[in-house]
Symmetry: C2
Subunit: 583 residues, 2 copies
């Protein structure tokens, strides 16, 4: 987090001296360009020999499904020449999805946020890529069945199968329509680069349409009514971007449209940005109201027709709103191939693939799942409490001394992170406090030895702290990096396991389980203002956070190419505004 | 032409010190950015008040059809607040078409070569734009009928009409398939930005397709066989760009494709680039043969099937070639709306709208046509020879003295540029030489007075020099600028006409007729080599011309925004190569 404070201080300086900022950005780019040049030259031809398989010992074949955050992060971090990675995805590029809302309005170009997957990955790992979509996973024969995106009608070979030794599933999720009628047909989504490009074209087309002669005022207003459904970070950022695009660029070019443009944000809950701190939510709602963005809280969409959208308030009142364009950004759903696979392995009634804490799909061998298509099924302490007790009770006395408990505690905390979270949430400093709590329940006990019932009682509340990870790029990227590290040291850790003690078995787990480190989250609110929520309840809102946002997003780019392009797109926007050509 | 020689000298310096070039480009951009910033700020909101019509004297309504080279040049140069310009075009942007071949391979991005038409035009001229396609011109009621690109199903008002006082037709042309079966369905064209984007995606898709498993070698070779039909500048440049893209960027990323890629250029004539000097043609053919581009001369395409293209040699031999992608770039044809209009005004059997030398459509009032949709019908001297003689014969003596002839000569040369061309082509220094030639035919005459027959004889050959202008961006742009100047000074020149004497009427023409100044032409041949043919038979081929090409194309950009973008795209390509993401 060093970057954060550094840039934070800088951005405050910029706020006071706004003229400085542009000069500094310009010089940064020039410098960046030179560094980028040397790096790019060094890394060229990375995958040139990807298809060559080493003779001698057979390489393990890892099939990676997906080129999103999780898959790309896995690929970028895998650094062991014993593997041969076969990437399969319908998208031959990685897309920096957090910038998609910027792409919808041309603040950043589509091509600046994508990097060909063939450019990603280390020199010493053989990787090859197939542009195809996996439509069936067969764990019994260790095969995945794929279909080419493009028709290969000649020999009819549109489908093929690929064998694997290890399968890494990182296919992501799809937009969720909640089966509301008309959503699929009439709404824009914002998951893929193509979606963002389509939205951009539709916005411009709406303005052109509204400039045609012989339109009634009512019809012009309908055409220029942009509705965003979903008050999460994506929906909010898109609404803010659109507002900026309209007020900074379009209104001066389309004088007839002035006064007819309306942006409405529909949110089913009582507030927008509910995953953020209350201060941010309040600021965002106030800013949107100042900007003239109509935020309708507690509005549940019930139906979407070709020209109007019906929403129900909490009171049960249904109203129909005429619209020109809807962007639907309410949450994620399961992809068909994953749904199908879940049925096969007896997880049919879940929302996403369940994995253990090592990202292994439950009930399968050598299959891993990460990112939005998976959730980690954190093992509950209470399920294992007897096993934990007997492991900790080294002298098999039937009771646990404080010392024994303390010795076991490290392994317990690694294996069951909810214990640590529980201690934190109750502001306890250690196990002694935990035991004390159990005692107070009891009221009388003073001796330091615990029986199994007292142990259970002490831990009875900890599982309430089990948390599901959010479906964010940050989680997916950390999971990808974690899994790559596990793969890198598979052999090494087989011999010298480094994980916690196995509670229900012998020895230790090979690896420490995956642990998510939340680095903070941004919510850009338009007008060069961003809300940032950093770890430790640290909240920052305004122009300074916008500069923090620029810095973090530039530094997180997957390649120097995209980094230079994104930063120069920002500069271009500062200087020339956004382009309104309808392409 | 000052720029040319300046850059020419520079580019030669670069050739000797190639490391210099990148540094200079970098500093140029930095400087450009700053200048661009001030200019962009100054010109913002240009069209903000475009729709407001001045009260008092009614403004003349100019309807401009088309936003290509001719229309945009007209718009950019028109500088008279008495007009109100209504632009109608299905494309709300101007595209710098000479860079389209670069867009096909990502050397330059699509968005870098377009500029919204609403940003073009002077502050003091009221302009407004409608995104619609004109489908009917009615000169009798002075109306054009238009159709919106987008369905406006609500009130069914997809069609509307617009009145005009002056109509400027600059709709351009469309690709010509010569009615060869299968071309429309199976070939890519290269006229619009969307075409270039589609070609780019298809090229990448072909490489992805060829990387799929279970493909026979034969099928892989077919998929990677790129065929270009037409050896004109566009076809040649595309073939060269594609060759560079494949050899510089794709081959290292797609190792399986290596050795299977083939580019073939089919040309019906005996040589490619026939409009250029023979030295350029020869160099291009040799370079392509070294590069492995298969140039098949004298090949007439007869039919295009889904997977193979049939061509006939001059000997009558028909061969069928399997292909993966075809780019069709053989010439231009007439758009339906122009064809229809030509029928209405009795020009049904022509290829393009005939105009007089002042760009006025023949047989119409207040309708002008320019660019690829029109041709200038140069009045022949021999048609007017009697009128010319009697105008020149001021003393009405029935004979022409040398003095009388000389006095009339200026007007004749302006009105009939072929006279001047004839003198030049025969290396004559003046009229005396022309008369001498007439004399030598006669053999005996020594007196300096000409009768009408001798006058006719002297001028009998000059009409052979009438030349049709090529359908190029350069011609269109010059015509647009010329017409804008005529419009600017319409009233002024009505009172004080500045054109030549009317041969078949009284007084003078209002304006001097349009005269094309050829500034030279480029043919980029790939590998940072370009052939340039400049006026005065000046030919330059190689890296130096490439730098000249860069300079000229950068300087000719319509706005500072596109200039900066195009130059930074070139830099990006130098540093990072071309992107191969399939978007």
């Amino acid at each position: 987090m060093r970057n954060f404070s550094f840039f934070e201080r800088f951005s405050k300086a910029f706020q006071d001296h706004p003229s400085l900022t542009r000069i500094i950005v310009v010089s940064t780019i020039s410098g960046g360009g030179l560094i980028a040049y040397s790096e790019a030259n060094a890394s060229y031809g990375v995958n040139g020999s990807a298809a060559v398989v080493e003779t001698g010992t057979r390489k393990k074949k890892v099939v990676l499904l997906g080129t999103g955050w999780a898959g790309t992060s896995f690929l970028k971090n895998l650094n062991n020449s014993q593997y041969e990675v076969q990437i399969i995805s319908p998208r031959n590029y990685f897309a920096f999805t957090p910038l998609l809302p910027s792409v919808t309005c041309g603040t950043v170009e589509a091509r600046s946020v994508v990097e060909p997957v063939r450019n990603i990955g280390r020199k010493n790992v053989d990787t090859s890529y197939l542009e195809a979509e996996c439509f069936k996973i067969d764990p019994s024969s260790k095969k995945v069945y794929c279909r080419s995106k493009q028709g290969l009608a000649s020999n009819g070979k549109k489908e093929f199968s690929v064998d694997y030794d290890y399968l890494v599933i990182a296919t992501g999720a799809q937009s969720n329509t909640f089966n509301i009628p008309g959503v699929e047909e009439n709404c824009h989504f914002l998951k893929e680069v193509e979606d963002a490009q389509k939205i951009r074209k539709t916005v411009i087309d709406s303005f052109e349409k509204a400039s045609l002669p012989d339109l009634s005022d009512e019809e012009r207003k309908r055409i220029l009514h942009f509705v965003v459904v979903g008050g999460g970070p994506t929906g909010v950022e898109f609404a803010a971007e659109l507002h900026d695009f309209v007020s900074e660029d379009l209104v001066s070019l389309y004088p007839r449209a002035k006064g007819s443009v309306q942006i409405t944000l529909l949110e089913a809950a009582d507030h927008i940005l509910t995953m953020f701190d209350k201060r941010i939510t309040e600021f965002a709602e106030e800013k949107f109201s100042r900007d003239g963005i109509d935020v309708k809280l507690g509005s549940m969409v019930t139906k979407v027709n070709e020209k109007d959208i019906s929403a129900k308030t909490k009171g049960g009142e249904v109203s129909s709103i005429p619209y020109g364009m809807i962007v639907w950004s309410t949450g994620i759903g399961t992809r068909p191939v994953i749904k199908d696979f879940m049925k096969q392995i007896g997880q049919g009634n879940r929302r996403a693939l369940a994995t253990d804490e090592w990202l292994r799909v439950e009930g399968c061998d050598n299959i891993y799942a990460l990112g939005d298509c998976a959730t980690i099924n954190q093992r509950k302490v209470m399920e294992d409490v007897s096993a934990i007790f007997s492991k900790a009770d080294k002298d098999k006395s039937g009771t646990l001394t404080l010392k024994e408990f303390q010795e076991a505690m490290d392994d317990i905390c690694v294996r069951y992170p909810q214990v640590e979270l529980y201690l934190k949430s109750k502001r306890m400093r250690g196990i002694a406090d935990l035991l004390k709590e159990a005692e107070t329940d009891d009221g009388s006990k003073k001796n330091i030895e615990l029986k199994i019932e007292e142990f259970k009682s002490a831990l009875s509340q900890v599982d309430s702290q089990v948390k599901f990870l959010p479906a964010t790029a940050q989680v997916a990227a950390q999971q990808g990096a974690y899994l790559a590290k596990c793969f890198d040291r598979m052999e090494e850790c087989e011999k010298n396991p480094e994980g916690p003690i196995r509670m229900r078995g012998e020895g230790r787990h090979r690896f420490r389980p995956f642990r998510y480190r939340h680095l903070g989250q941004f919510a850009p609110l338009g007008g060069e203002q961003t809300a940032a929520q950093l770890p430790g309840d640290w909240v920052s809102i305004g122009h300074s956070s916008q500069w923090l946002w620029y810095s973090v997003y530039a530094s997180k780019q997957v390649s120097w190419r995209t980094r230079v392009l994104v930063v120069s797109d920002w500069m271009r926007r500062f200087i020339f505004g956004r382009d309104s050509s309808s392409i």
